[in-house]
């Protein structure tokens, strides 16, 4: 800065440089400020924050939803168990009597159908089922896998009161206004029921610990991908009556769990993890306003849990965060993934960089432009004023800057003062000249007088008595200082009156001294005294 101050740049150049430095400082301070308050975070951080929020919401949604479904399933199981145990014909050890007993099966289904349809209407799921450990005909092929029961199914996109009968007695369904599904079958098949053996094995657990989520599978004859929240139905004596629970289809989940999202294209998935490999459960959703095709196949996650990771599967890649969640006591923890397409992430990062660079460029451009513009605008009247002063034309037109006008006024006053001084000087010169002339005239007169005095002295020298003169010279040395002073005044041509004024004494005193002087100098008159004094002076000069 000191160096800058000492450079011999023009005022305009210096001002521009100062202004640019000021602009840079302001821009730096601005960015420092917005960085500190977090208003200009990197795209990565913004996306991380947004996905953290989405994850929190999705995690709560999943936790609440499956908790509620588990409670309903346990309640359903308990309810059916109570119903069976209330009928001595089929309760406990008599339950095996249900097999090959179409009339009893129809009776049981007719009771359960109304209850199940009612429960389905009031629960947020796509289907409900009860699979009893019995079959209507143990003699048919594959009867070992066949199980009687009821399976009611909503339109997979809608949770309304319109439902169809996927498994169960068709005539019973129709009489209850529940039409058979297009791919209806009379009974379940345990070999097509995902994780059936695991669900059965849970019968040994306490009721409230026996629920689990099955792996997803496609319902036979449809494209509906579903998972069951399944609970074993167990009697008070530990008799296994069957399995019941709720169905959540992939389409239902997508429709009813669409997340409110800040991100344009959000994908949320529930994944299961087996042998370090993530597998889609089929339950996935998007943001409410946009749909993103979920990842398929085995899913790879590379990154730190809780931080942005690359999540890829099939031909798609996403950037998002994953988090473990425990949904049931009988499933390994699931993994929640909340993510956006990698292309969206890349675009956001590039956009952020471009915006930053553009903003800096614009700020710099506008700063420099403004510096140039304003310095020019600011200095031009000053420079113009200086030009006026330089060419002494400042009085021709006023400046738009008051300070310059003040300077002009100051200069005008100075000019006026200078003129007055010059006039006084001229007058003084005239007076001096006149005085000089007078002085010269007086000097001439003095010289003339002295010449006359000399001539007179020389002419009177012969009239002087040498003895008197010698006495005079001796007497001079005897004069007192006062007398000597008075003598000098006489020699200077002063009168008695003038000498009295000069010495501050009375005339009579002067006259007293005169008598003493005359006596000591042996003269009788002032004329004689002055003559002897002139001769003495002339002799001293010679």
């Amino acid at each position: 800065m000191k160096r800058l101050l000492n450079t011999k740049w023009t005022m305009q150049k210096k001002l521009i440089v100062y202004m640019i430095i000021l602009a840079l400082i302001i821009i730096f301070a601005l960015f420092a400020g917005i960085m500190v308050i977090g208003r200009f975070d990197s795209a990565e951080k913004n996306i991380q924050n947004s996905l953290d929020f989405q994850m929190e919401a999705f995690e709560k949604d999943m936790s609440d939803y499956f908790n509620s479904l588990a409670a309903s399933s346990i309640d359903l199981s308990s309810h059916i168990s109570d119903f069976i145990e209330s009928d001595s014909e089929i309760s406990g050890a008599n339950f095996k009597n249900l097999t090959d007993n179409p009339e009893k099966i129809e009776q049981v289904q007719s009771v359960l159908l109304g209850q199940l349809s009612q429960k389905l209407q009031y629960h947020n799921c796509s289907g409900i089922f009860v699979m009893l450990d019995a079959t209507v005909n143990s003699q048919v092929e594959d009867a070992a896998f066949s199980r009687t029961g009821l399976y009611l199914h909503h339109n997979r996109y809608q949770n309304d009161d319109d439902m169809v009968l996927f498994r169960g007695i068709a005539s019973l369904g129709k009489s209850n206004n529940v039409m058979p599904h297009r791919k209806w079958r009379l009974e379940f098949r345990t070999d097509l029921f995902s994780d059936y053996d695991k669900v059965v094995a849970n019968a040994k657990l306490p009721m409230n610990q026996s629920y689990m989520l099955t792996d997803s599978f496609t319902l036979a004859g449809t494209s509906d991908e579903v998972v069951f929240l399944a609970v074993p139905i167990v009697g008070s004596a530990g008799t296994f009556y069957g399995v019941c629970g709720y169905e959540v289809s992939a389409d239902y989940f997508t429709t009813y769990h669409a997340q409110p999202a800040a991100e344009k294209r959000l994908s949320c998935m529930l994944l299961s993890c087996k042998d370090d490999t993530y597998i889609p459960t089929g339950l996935a959703c998007s943001g409410q306003d946009n749909y993103v095709e979920p990842l398929s196949g085995n899913i790879q996650v590379s990154g730190i849990p809780g931080k942005l990771s690359k999540i890829s599967g099939g031909s798609q890649s996403f950037i998002g965060i994953v988090k473990e969640i425990t949904l049931t006591p009988n499933n390994a923890p699931f993994t929640l993934a909340v993510m956006i397409p990698q292309s969206d992430y890349s675009s956001a990062v590039i956009k952020s960089i471009v915006q930053f660079v553009l903003l800096i460029t614009l700020l710099l451009f506008f700063s420099v432009s403004c510096c140039l513009f304003f310095s020019k605008r600011y200095l031009s009247p000053i420079l113009k004023g200086l030009e006026h002063i330089k060419h002494d034309t400042w009085s021709e037109e006023p400046s738009p800057i008051p300070e310059i006008n003040d300077l002009f006024a100051y200069l005008a006053k100075k000019d006026e003062d200078l003129s007055a001084v010059q006039s006084e000087l001229a007058a003084a010169a005239v007076i001096y000249q006149e005085a000089q002339q007078k002085y010269d005239a007086a000097q001439s007169e003095l010289e003339e007088a002295q010449s006359q005095l000399h001539r007179l002295t020389r002419s009177r020298r012969n009239d002087v008595d040498p003895d008197n003169y010698s006495a005079f010279l001796i007497g001079i040395k005897t004069l007192t200082p006062t007398e000597k002073q008075i003598l000098d005044y006489y020699l200077a041509g002063k009168s008695v009156k003038e000498i009295a004024e000069l010495t501050g004494v009375k005339e009579t005193t002067i006259r007293f001294h005169n008598r003493n002087i005359y006596s000591k100098l042996n003269v009788t008159s002032l004329k004689q005294l002055l003559l002897y004094a002139a001769i003495m002076q002339q002799n001293n000069e010679n």
Partner: protein, 446 residues
Amino acid sequence: MKKIFLCLLALVILFSCMTGCSDDSKLNPKKPVTLSMWHIYGEQTDSPLNQLVQEFNATVGKEKGIVIKVTNMMTTPDLKNQLLAAKEGAPGAPSMPDLFSSRPDTVLNLGAENLVDFNDYFSEEELSQYVQEFVNDGTIDGHLAVFPVSRSTRALFINDSLFYRFAKDTGVSYEMLDTWEGFFEVAAKYYEWSGGKSFCAFDYLIQNVEYDMLASGHEPVYNDADWYDTSDPNLKASWMKFAVPLAKGHIVVSDKYANTQIMTGEVAAGVGSSAAINYYNDTVTYPDNTSEKMNLKVLPLPKTGSGEQFMPVTGTGFSAYKTTEAKAEAAAIFLRWLTEGERNLDFVVESGYMPVHDSAFEAIDGYEFPSPAHKELFSAVKTMRKEYTLTIRPEFTNYYNYVEALYPALKKLCPALQERADSGEDAALLAEETWDLFLEISKGGD
């Protein structure tokens, strides 16, 4: 100063170029537009259209910035009802979809002005390659509001395993099903053979009555209420032809769709949409859980007399709800893609429909069908195309209100009539009761 202004201008232009490089298209691959879709193709089953939607999203959609999301699949009447509820903003109704299956009567209800006019997105040359009857049928008030993607017809579906045993015991044959007279004769024999089971369930009974009128040489007369003029004696004559076997229980009005009654063994045959082909199970399951292969047989609709026969052309097209230009453009791109040559053929064959391009009809001959049942169906369709006249019936706003009132009322009435017929009452008189019911319904279906 001038230099600064020019720099600023250049900067603004540069910024504009960076933020909005675009052509006429309103679509942007970086900001895909999502179209919600409701359709009727394969509800409850594995939908061929859903598979095509996935293919579109992964290819053209990805390239152009379009994501189609199927958010509802249901039957045509249900879809129409839900559309109307959505448009009215009824409590609990879902949001209006961007793209949906629709019929001309749906458009009349929704208002053509609220739907995208596909004339704005397809050139005349493009549209000339579609079957003109389909294009004309979808044009309402000058708007091409229902874009043709497929059309269905009606056919006779039969459980061949059951029919084989029945034919073997009674000597009937499929040839007898060529005409309605033979059909009703077979139905009567089946009723007797099966111990009182109906032979066939009808999905759209009133349409069979209407086509019988046409084939008998009588154009149906409609009244101002969008329903039939019941004073027309030809209407009653055709009605009674079906009403007598209906009263006897030889035939029934289907519970909803005939295929569910065939797969439970309740009936041996069904008359329904060609699109039902995807809904048939491979097997029939009886109440004792025994089952057998169905071996689905598909035959043309029985003929009326020996005159000109008419092939029903029914089904829906696609309409797009008018929202943004980008969505309208996206809908047009998807529909163009869906109806392109081979793809449209694959789609219609898989889903049991007829193609919408003239040339595609000929291509069906050499097509490799996904199942013997599909081959049966398209053989029947081919026969009808050859021997029958393609006919699209006019659509009216309130027509389906009458239909939806008629079928449940008949289903409620017929079991009692069947009992009375079995007990010896005159079937012709019982059939008159169905006509009385028809008249009753005709008084106020709206």
